[in-house]
């Protein structure tokens, strides 16, 4: 077991324990906070663990529990914490009921609010990839709405816990009667303001929701267009070019069919790589095989693939394809580097070059499959082309702390 400093807040003890046992780090943090509130043990335990656990990036032995497993882990941890608190209280190692129980409620509520806000806000890399069929409901819309509903209910429960903690504290310190007048005044003002502004607020919320749904739909259409351009359209172009060789045409069609079926059923394509280097090498090998142009790949650093990095690889593959098609047969060089701030990929050829600004609007290769795709996933693409030195496509994807 190792401390996970990259995902931790202080020394990475809680993140390391959570990573090792595949549980939510928030639960481990809650346990330490509660242990600190009860008898001050949490600080001592944390300091001891900090000393004992070496720092490092160990691979998790378990994957994070989800669904029913996550609920059982959460309830189990909470029950164990309550048990420890009751035991400490019975043995007299206890500050005061008026302090500890409100603190426990606040810590629990804080964890729920934190988790709710983290779930509700989508990560910048979370881009839709599912296909859309006109007139049918969006396949990803239901899980997204379910996640949002779960986040809202978690946040609501968290807020209720925090309010209950405040009321319990005021009640135990006999300050509730004094605070009652103030609370009543605040509630009255909120009710009056709510009655006045409710129609505008409801309209604003609806408009924001509709705008967000439209943005998601437009991104999904762009993803579908980019994928079809990179796969089906290119295969059809190759089929036309090699129509004299029936065996090769059949092989191209079979490969495209497998890829398309995997994409439609949202399962990984056959032989899909799990990390950046093999994924780039596979893309280079495919371009080499299809276009007969040598592609040299050099990668410095390694990362596990996630949806954003998969998009980066797809954009790099499209850049390699363009270099192979329009580079006048010159070799294609691919250099990728991955560091703590970003992943960068450079694709270069020594062909005649082109003017990126003069591309016709119906050409999706550069505009959608490279530039648009990188922007949709929080990255950027820069293209520099010159008749003397050829074309260089630079793709950059900033890394998130958890990536």
């Amino acid at each position: 077991m190792r401390r996970d400093r990259s995902g931790g807040w202080i020394g990475g003890v809680c993140a390391g324990i959570a990573r090792r046992y595949g549980i939510d780090p928030a639960l481990v943090r809650l346990a330490f906070v509660v242990a600190t509130a009860a008898g001050g043990f949490g600080i001592a335990l944390y300091a001891l663990a900090w000393l004992v656990m070496p720092a490092g990036e160990a691979r998790p032995r378990r994957r994070l529990a989800t669904g029913r497993g996550a609920i059982e882990v959460a309830f189990g941890t909470v029950l164990l914490l309550i048990s420890a608190l009751l035991a400490l209280r019975a043995t007299g190692i206890w500050f005061s009921d008026a302090i500890v129980w409100p603190l426990v409620l606040i810590a629990g509520g804080g964890v729920l609010i934190w988790r709710g806000s983290a779930t509700a806000a989508p990560a910048p890399a979370e881009a839709p990839t599912a296909p859309l069929v006109r007139g049918e409901p969006e396949p990803r819309e239901r899980p997204r709405l379910t996640r949002a509903a779960a986040a809202i209910s978690r946040t609501g429960l968290g807020i209720a816990l925090v309010i209950a903690a405040g009321v319990a504290f005021l009640q135990s310190t006999d300050a509730l009667s004094a605070a009652r007048d103030v609370i009543l005044a605040v509630v009255a003002v909120v009710v009056v303001l709510g009655a006045i502004f409710a129609p505008w607020i409801v309209r604003l919320v609806r408009s924001l929701t509709e705008e967000r749904a439209e943005r998601i739909r437009s991104q999904e259409r762009a993803e579908v267009a980019a994928h079809l351009h990179d796969s089906v359209l290119q295969t059809l172009a190759l089929v036309q070019r090699r129509s004299t060789d029936p065996q090769e045409v059949a092989a191209l069609a079979r490969r495209q069919e497998r890829e398309l079926r995997a994409w439609l059923s949202e399962r990984p394509a056959p032989g899909k790589a799990a990390t950046l280097t093999p994924a780039l090498e596979a893309a280079a090998a495919e371009v080499e095989e299809r276009h007969g142009v040598p592609v040299e790949v050099v990668v410095v650093g390694e990362r596990d693939l996630d949806p954003a990095l998969e998009a980066l690889v797809a954009a790099a593959r499209e850049a390699m394809t363009n270099a192979a098609k329009f580079g006048a047969g010159s070799p294609v060089d691919v250099y990728a580097e991955s560091n703590s701030g970003a992943v960068r990929v450079f694709v270069r050829d020594r062909g005649p070059g082109f003017d990126p600004a003069a591309l016709p609007p119906d050409r999706h290769g550069v505009r959608e499959s490279i530039v648009g795709r990188m922007e949709r996933h929080g990255g950027r693409a820069r293209i520099s082309s010159d008749p003397d030195t050829g074309t260089e496509v630079e793709l950059e994807l900033p890394t998130r702390p958890d990536r």
Binding site: E72, V78, L79, L81, A84, A87
Partner: protein, 60 residues
Amino acid sequence: MRAGRPDIPALVAGLALLALGGVLLLNALDAIDLGFGLFAPLACAATGAILLANGLSRSG
């Protein structure tokens, strides 16, 4: 006979029930005075341990 891996959730549940049973037996024999202050944390700990073991076993 092939020796398989132990079923951790079942093992934890069994141990938790054994512990609870032992405490109840001691109480019946008047060896301890089992009040709410002692039984509540024990029951919470047993249930929590069983749930945690189940949840962790699901995550593989």
